[in-house]
C-alpha cells in the first residue's frame, strides 16, 4: 500500500508549507487501499483493489483562496501543486465570508486503526462471499452481497502550526438473500473498525432467516401503526435530521429548527424525554478522526439532544464569528442512547405492531417539517402478542424524524450502523414507536 507514517508525512507537509508564498497555506495528504468483492446470483461478479494517495494544497491571498490536488509526490510535483493553488487563488474573486487558517489545535488521537482489519487480503474477501453463497445455496436462496475494507491515513498541516496524522481501518458488509421464486427477501448490514468484530456467517444467517420468513407476505391496510424499527430502518431517516443542526440555517429561517420571528429552537423540547443524542470522536464503537477535514478544528464530545431538548447547534467558523458564538468542528459520528433490551425482547413486549428491517429511497418531501418519504424493504413482519405472526407486504411511509422521536414507546440496545447516504458513523438503538404513518402499499419484494 502507498502509505506514509507520521514522520514521512510531516516531511512532505513541511516542504509544501515552505514552498508557499501565499499569506497562508493548508496541506492535507490522504492515502488509502480499498479492497472489495461483489457477488450476485450466487456467484462473484466483480472484485477489485484500489490504491491511491493525494496531496491537497489550499492557499489564500487575503480573502482569495485556491485549492489544488495532485497524486504525485516528487519535489517538482509538490511545487507544481503549490503554484497551481496560488494561481487559482489569484484568479478567484474575494469571498467576504472567507475565514483565515485556524490556529494551532490539540488533537487527542482516537482509536481508528486495528491491524487485523489492515491485514484483510483477497482470500479473506473471497471467503466472506463463499460463506454467504454456500449458506444461501443450502437454503435454496439466491444471494447478492458486497464486502469492502479499507486501510487509510490522513495528515493535515497549516502555516499556523497545525499538524495531525492518523491511521484508519474499517469494513462494511451488506447481504441480500432472496428466494428463488422472488417472493421472499432478507437483508443484513454490518460495519466495524475491527475485523474481529465481524462474523460473515452470523451476518449471513440473519439475512437468510429473514428471507425464509418473508415469503407469503400479506397486505395490511396503510395507516398509523406501532412499529419496531431496527437501527438500519432509522439510520437514513435520523441521518437526515442529524445533518440539519446548522445554526446559520436555523437563524436564517430555513430549517426545522427555525422559529417564527427569526429565532432558533435551541433549548426547545422537540422530542420524547428518552431521546439523548451526542457526537463523540473517542467513542469505542465508532471512533472517528479527532478533527474535521473542512475546518481542521479539533472535534469534541457534543450533546445535540439532551432529554428531548435541542442542546446545541452546529456553528461554522464564519457564522460563529458573526453571532459571537463558539465555532464547532463538523461531527463524524452520531450516538443515540438506548435501553438494554434486544430486538427480540422489544418484539416480545409488543401486543400489536410491525417490525421493519430496512428502509429505502428516503427523500425529503418538506424541509420545513423534515417530512420524509421512503419504503420498507427486505423483511417487514406483523407482530401479535409478542410474536412475529406473518410477513407483510412493503409500505411507503411519509413521516418526520421529529415525530418519530416524539412517539417513542421504548428503546432497545444500541448497535453500530453505517449510513449509506449519511456522512456519519452511528450507534442507534432499535425503537418501538407508536403512530408511524404508512401511506400506501408496495408490491415490491
Amino acid at each position: 500500500m502507498k502509505t506514509l507514517n507520521q514522520e514521512q508525512a510531516k516531511k512532505i507537509t513541511d516542504r509544501v508549507l515552505s514552498l508557499s508564498k501565499a499569506d497562508e497555506c493548508t496541506v492535507q495528504i490522504e492515502g488509502s487501499r480499498v479492497g472489495n468483492v461483489r457477488f450476485a446470483r450466487n456467484s462473484v461478479s466483480t472484485a477489485g483493489l484500489t490504491e491511491d494517495m493525494q496531496l491537497v494544497v489550499r492557499v489564500a491571498f487575503g480573502k482569495r483562496s485556491g485549492t489544488a490536488m495532485v497524486n504525485e509526490f516528487d519535489d517538482k510535483s509538490l511545487e507544481k501543486a503549490v503554484r497551481r493553488a496560488e494561481e487559482l487563488a489569484r484568479l478567484a474573486p474575494e469571498n467576504p465570508e472567507f475565514m483565515p487558517a485556524i490556529a494551532k489545535q490539540e488533537y487527542r488521537a482516537t482509536k481508528t486503526f486495528v491491524p487485523a482489519t489492515a491485514s484483510i487480503d483477497p482470500d479473506f474477501r473471497a471467503q466472506v462471499a463463499a460463506t454467504s453463497i454456500e449458506l444461501a445455496r443450502k437454503n435454496k436462496l439466491v444471494t447478492a452481497g458486497y464486502f469492502v475494507d479499507s486501510t487509510r491515513f490522513s495528515t493535515i498541516a497549516n502555516s499556523n502550526g497545525v499538524f495531525g496524522h492518523q491511521d484508519f481501518t474499517d469494513l462494511s458488509f451488506t447481504l441480500t438473500a432472496r428466494t428463488e421464486d422472488g417472493r421472499g427477501s432478507g437483508w443484513v448490514t454490518r460495519s466495524a473498525v475491527d475485523a474481529a468484530r465481524f462474523d460473515a456467517r452470523e451476518a449471513s444467517e440473519v439475512a437468510i432467516e429473514k428471507a425464509l420468513r418473508s415469503v407469503e407476505a400479506r397486505a395490511l391496510e396503510p395507516g398509523r401503526y406501532t412499529v419496531i424499527l431496527e437501527p438500519a430502518a432509522t439510520s437514513e431517516i435520523l441521518g437526515n435530521m442529524f445533518s440539519s443542526f446548522d445554526a446559520r440555517s436555523a437563524d436564517e429561517g430555513r430549517s426545522f429548527l427555525s422559529k417564527a420571528g427569526g429565532k432558533n429552537r435551541l433549548g426547545d423540547k422537540l422530542f420524547d424525554s428518552q431521546v439523548n443524542i451526542w457526537a463523540d470522536p473517542w467513542d469505542k464503537d465508532v471512533p472517528v478522526a479527532p478533527w474535521d477535514n473542512e475546518s481542521l478544528l479539533a472535534r469534541e464530545r457534543t450533546q445535540l439532544v439532551k432529554d428531548g431538548r435541542i442542546a446545541s447547534l452546529d456553528y461554522s467558523r464564519y457564522w460563529a464569528q458573526k453571532t459571537g458564538k463558539q465555532a464547532t468542528a463538523g461531527h463524524g459520528n452520531m450516538i443515540m442512547a438506548g435501553g438494554t433490551k434486544s430486538l427480540e425482547e422489544l418484539i416480545a413486549g409488543t401486543k400489536k405492531g410491525i417490525v421493519v428491517t430496512r428502509t429505502w429511497y428516503i427523500r425529503m418531501v418538506d424541509p420545513q417539517s423534515l417530512l420524509l418519504t421512503g419504503l420498507t424493504r427486505d423483511g417487514t413482519f406483523y407482530v401479535e402478542n409478542g410474536k412475529i405472526k406473518y410477513p407483510l407486504k412493503n409500505f411507503r411511509f411519509n413521516e418526520s424524524p421529529v415525530t418519530i422521536l416524539n412517539n417513542i414507546d421504548e428503546l432497545g440496545k444500541p448497535q453500530i450502523i453505517g449510513g449509506d447516504e449519511v456522512p456519519f458513523q452511528m450507534v442507534l438503538p432499535p425503537m418501538k414507536v407508536r403512530d408511524f404513518n404508512f401511506t400506501s402499499l408496495s408490491d415490491a419484494v
Binding site: 480499498v34 485549492t67 487559482l88 473471497a126 422472488g182 430555513r254 418538506d366 447516504e421 408490491d443 415490491a444
Partner: protein
Amino acid sequence: MERRKFLQIGAGTAGAMLIPVFGNAIAAEDLLKPMAASAKKVLADTAMGAATQAGASYCDVRIGRYLNQFIITRDLNVESINNTESSGVGIRVIADGAYGFASTNSMTPDGIAQAARQAVAIAKANAKLQTEPVRLAPVKGVGEVAWATPIVKDWRTLPVKEKADMLIAANKAGLDAGANFMTASLFQINQQKYFASTDGSYIDQDIHRLWAPINATAVDQKTGKFRSRGGLGAPASMGYEYFDAKAADKVRAAGGVTTLYTRSYDIVEDARLAGKQAREKLTAKSVEPGKYDLVLSPEHLFLTIHENVGHPTELDRVLGYEANYAGTSFAGLDKWQTKKFKYGAERVNFVADRTTPGSLGLIGYDDEGVPAKKWDIIRDGILVNYQATRDQAHIIGEKESHGCSYADSWSTVQFQRMPNVSLEPGKARLTPDEMVQDVKKGIYILGRGSYSIDQQRYNFQFGGTLYYEIKNGKITGPLEDVAYQANTQEFWNACSAICDERDWRMGGSFFDGKGQPSQVSAVSHGSSTTRFNGINVINTARKIG
C-alpha cells in the same frame, strides 16, 4: 436512483479540501494537451500483451483523463472554485471464464503490465466461484478511430471570473426578485477516454458535459414558513455556448406561468423567475388531496421517466445483479417474453438512444467499444426490450450489445448503465395550452422535486418544483404541498395525451448512482408535456413541535 450524496459534494465543497470522487487538480498548462492517441495505443498494447500472456482470453483497456471544474456560489459570494484532474488505466480481462479487473495510476509500461497481470489473477480467483462462464456478444474491431462531443465553446479555455460572474448575476437576479437566499453552481466535465480491446478497437473519445443548478429560497419571518424553487434548465452534453441564451430556445409554459428552455439556457432569467416564484409559493393554496388529471411538463417528467422506465428496464437489475443495492425490477423476463406486457397506454412509446444531440448519454462508443445506437424499449405500450451490455445480449436473444456499458472513472469497472431513455412525442398536433383546455380538475406540474420509488420500481411518490391548479380548462393559480402516488404500470396506462414534437425537450440526471462501489453516470430523458388521468395526489404539509 438519484444519489443525494453526489449533490452534497457540490453543496458541501465550500472550504472543503478533499473532493474524493473527482480526483486531482488540473495543471492549467497541460489542460488542453491530451496524451497522443499513439502513446495511449502503446500503453494499451502493453496491457493487452501482458494479460494475454498471463492467460486472459479477452482484455480491454481504458486509459482515462478526467478534468472537472466546479464553481459554487451563494448569494453574492463565490464559495469555492475547484479544478480537479484524475488520470490512470483500468484493465478488464476474462480468464478461465471469469472477469478480473485492476486499475493503476502508474502510467508506465511496467505499472500497466503489472495491473494487467493482477486483473488476470483476480479473474482466476473469481473463476472458482463462477457458476457459468462470461459470454460476450461479438463486437467488430473498429481499428483506430476518434469521436468528440460537438462543442463550440470549450469551458476549459474560458476565464473562471466570467463563469463566476454569470452565477453571481443569477443570484442577484433571484434576490432582487424576492428570494432571501440564492445558490448557483456550475459543474463542468471533460472525460478524455481511450478504449482498446483484443477485438481490435482503439477508440479515442473526448466527452463534455455541464450543468448549472440554481436554488431560490424565500422566508416569511412572521410565520416562520420557507419555500424553495429550483432551476428549470437541464444539464447538457454541450459546450459553454449553452449559456448563450437565444430567444428561439425559450418556451412559454402553459398559461404563461413561467419560461422554459430547450437548446440554450438563460440562467439569469430563470433565477429571476425562481426568486419571484419562491416568494409566491409562501402564499400558494395548499392542495386538497384527491384524484387529479396531471399535466406534467418535460422539466418534471424526465425524472419520472428515469425512475419508472429507465431503471426497471436495466437488464442487470432484471437479472438480480443490483439486488443488494439499487434493487431488482418488476419488468422481469417473464413479462418481456409474453410480448404482451402492457407497460403503458397504446400511445406510449419509449426509445433508448445514445445518439440524441445535446443529451447527457451522447457518446460515440460505450466502454466496451460498442458503437452508439437507438432501439425501442416500449412500443405501442408493450415492453419490447431492455438495456444490455455485451455479456447480457444473449440472455434476451440479441446478437449484439446495446452499448450500455459505462464506468465513471479509469479506476472503476464498467457495467450496465442507462442510455438516454425518452418518450416519443404524440402523433397528433397538440400544445400544452390545448392539453390544459381538456382538463376539468387537474394540476400542472413543472420542475424536479422529491422522488422516491420502491426497489422494484412499482410504488412511487413524486413531487415537483411548481404546481398550478387547473379548473375547467383553465390554470387558476399556484398550489403547494403536492405529491402524487401511483404504481408505475397503472400510471403509464393512465397516460391520456402527449403533446407533439414542437414541445419535445430533455431534462437530465447528472449524478445518477448505481452499483457497489457506487458509481455515477449522467443521462437525459426527453418528452413533450404529457397528461395522466385520475392520479392520486396527497397533501404533504405537516406541523412539528
